[in-house]
Amino acid sequence: MGRSLGTPEALAAEVAATGVGQGRAGAGPGSGRARGWRGLLPTNQLHWFSFKSQESTLAGQQAGDFLLRRRLRAVAGMAGTPGPDPPADGGGEARPAWDSKLQYLLSCVGFAVGLGNLWRFPYLCQTYGGGAFLIPYVVALAFEGIPLFHIELAVGQRLRRGSVGVWTAISPYLGGVGLGCFTVSFLVSLYYNTVLTWVLWYLLNSFQHPLPWSACPLDLNRTGLEQECRDSSPVSYFWYRRTLNVSADISDGGPVQWRLLLCLAVSWAVVYLCVIRGIETTGKAIYFTALFPYLVLTAFLVRGLTLPGAMQGLTYLFTPDLRVLQNPRVWLDAATQIFFSLSLAFGGHIAFASYNPPRNNCRRDAVSIALVNSMTSLYASVAVFSVLGFKAASDHGQCLDRNILHLINAFDLPEQSVSRDTYTAALVRLNASQPAQVAGLPLEACRLEDFLDKSASGTGLAFIVFTEAVLHMPGAPVWAVLFFAMLFSLGLSSMFGNMESIITPLLDLGVMPRRVPKEVLTGLACLLCFLMATCFTLRSGSYWLEIFDQYAAALNLILLAFFEVIGVVYVYGMKRFCDDVAWMTGRRPGFYWRATWKVVSPLLLLTIFVAYIALLASSPPHYKAWNPRYERFPSRQEKPYPGWVLAACALLSFLPTLWVPVVALGQLLARCREKTRDPPQDGRPKPRGGRAC
């Protein structure tokens, strides 16, 4: 049986047929299961491979596949890939792999679908003309989101390394991109888990009736309610005082809040429990954390649609107002929303894809995951809007009731003689007969549209608006528990992606010696993150979190994504990349892909970056402080950042991206030094894979 092991394809087929790597017990997680999802070597190493195997055939009839296995082990051991050491998974074993494709898809979906789908997208829809926002959103998805996502998955799957290894493999000068992604992921995981801490705190407090944020506490002599609560609202009071215990100024740090510290510890403990062995454990946890939010969203949708006022909320909030499309801000927000919603440029998707078998249709995965993410955003906004519509109707009704009470008390009318429907007629009648007295009453203007217009995003939506809405629903503690459990699992599945994008590069770089088990590495990473995140449990922690969210994540990710596209398309080479994609998926990328990769996406990213900088520069950076002594309390007081905080903002904005020029310069200097010291001799095989140098 002639075995021509000349071409890499044939060799790969041979390797696949013999199921190499299957027979070794304990070769990696899930070994011994013949499912064709075992780690195969990357194609650039197959060049070495074919050379060695031709030796064996020329030597004659040598033993069968166990020699092949030996060669593989040898090659794996000395794998001379460009850049860092061979896949260090502890003991020279095969790279861990997903148990099934579903696990991989769920992990990517879980990473992409996060808190932003729930509390950012509905807000954007509401602010930017309802249904009309979907137009720039779909445009951004098609021209920016899906192409960038496809690149990440393809690159990770092809080169089978975490973000640091991948970019170093493409070009040693681009190693900084991977380090930048790594740094951004680290910074984001710090504050993202703090948000989960807040969610956990609310979850723990939801197991009681009545809910603690339903009523104000009493003041000291028990004659009335606490003043701060009375001036604002019980829900705001619980959030700002009982949860955050927020200070009035960012420079006023205050002591560490022990309640939040405990919740932070549990939060990080849960994260550690799930990522303890990398994808082996997250793969099991993801089944719950990725699917549970959909169940809860459906429950909320069904319950929300049956509540009074829900349909008004939905129609008002989804009615398109096409004039907003003329506002360039809308397009910018749509593009940034897509970008952050898909969690691009974190390195998490690269890490997930690196555990795939090389011949996996990443194009189909990219399109389907991106579509699932957008569908989830829409689904979530329908559920959220129906509950918010109910809340607006309920608030409107209460506003009317308060006015009616004023009227009845002032004019001593019998109880329930004026209903919500007859209120306006009664008011007109009384105004006609006794205008002076009516004018003296503290009547509020109650318009349903005003209540529907009250929009909130981010923590304001989750912890203030939605918690208040839940109070009015029958069976409030149940809905509160469900809501916060859903938020926790949404955030947790995104944390898995963040932690993978930190841990996979560390494993690939071989930071720890081989014999140290993976559990220790993940434990140390989680411990370090926990210790650093304690700064967010200070009284000024929420202000710092806003800073991290705005400055550490946004700009850097856009720049890094830009470098990613440029790196793949122009440094790695479009033709070579298309060849790789064709090998992996079976079809060459068409015109749409090549056009977006080459021109449209980089241009879009550059535009977004410039617009973002312009927006940040247009107004001096300020923050909104919660100050009970402010004269216009409960409005939040706008304060400028002090100088040292601005310096910290600048540092956070540029430090991660600084890796790119630093590493490139470092490589340049190293090469120059090598060239002057050691002129290259002909015929000597270069230890690096001969990529762009």
């Binding site: 199921g19 027979g23 919740c263 429990l273 109880e415």
Partner: protein, 222 residues
């Protein structure tokens, strides 16, 4: 003469109880809001009960044990159900100081509320703040209990995973060394991969493949 006196007395008494009079308090009831269908109508009998409750509260004050129901005057009853009341002294010429009435009502607010099946919000004494009931806090806040439960579960699960990882590690360290010995011996192991027996690859038979006949064989030395 008697008629004149009678009118004088009632006039004085009427003056004592007036809206915004000195030491007078306004009371407002929201019976239908509190009781819905089971609401009772406010009539003179209910007024009598009210006067009785106020007199009862005043009798608990030292020096005022002789307050009678007739000392409590009600006036200006409206359809809202709201009215004003004053408490007079035994001579019926002066009203009792507002502070005394206030403290008396505050002490017995709960009993007064219960007599009418109302609460602090539906039976309002304007200008008399009520001592609000403290919230019933359990001795251990609930969130700490749930926190403890979750923390213990997470801790136990982490310990289990770490221990199983250590065990797996030990088994793996013993395993590969055995595997390499077996492979090096090149035993007669018939492996089955993908359902196809690897017999054809077994080299025991010693078949000579003509394709690999080299030139050397034709030049066998003598």
């Amino acid at each position: 003469m008697l008629w004149l006196l009678f009118f004088l007395v009632t006039a004085i008494r009427a003056d004592l109880c007036q809206p915004d009079a000195e030491n007078a308090f306004k009371v407002r009831l929201s019976i239908r809001t509190a009781l819905g269908d089971k609401a009772y109508a406010w009539d003179t009998n209910e007024e009598y009960l009210f006067k009785a409750m106020v007199a009862f509260s005043m009798r608990k004050v030292p020096n005022r044990e002789t307050t009678e129901i007739s000392h409590v005057l009600l006036c200006n009853v409206t359809q809202r159900v709201s009215f004003w009341f004053v408490v007079t002294d035994p001579s019926r010429n002066h009203t009792l100081p507002a502070v005394e009435v206030q403290s008396a009502i505050r002490m017995n607010r709960n009993r007064i509320n219960n007599a009418f099946f109302l609460n602090d919000q539906t039976l309002e004494f304007l200008r008399i703040p009520s001592t609000l009931a403290p919230p019933t806090d359990p001795s251990v806040p609930i969130w700490i209990i749930i926190f403890g439960v979750i923390f213990c579960i997470v801790l136990v699960a982490t310990m289990l995973l770490i221990l199983s990882g250590i065990q797996q590690h030990r088994r793996k360290n013993k395993g590969p060394s055995e595997m390499e010995d077996i492979e090096d011996k090149c035993e007669n192991v018939i492996t089955i991969e993908n359902g196809i027996p690897c017999d054809p690859l077994d080299m025991k038979g010693g078949h000579i493949n003509d394709a690999f006949v080299t030139e050397d064989e034709r030049l066998t030395p003598l």
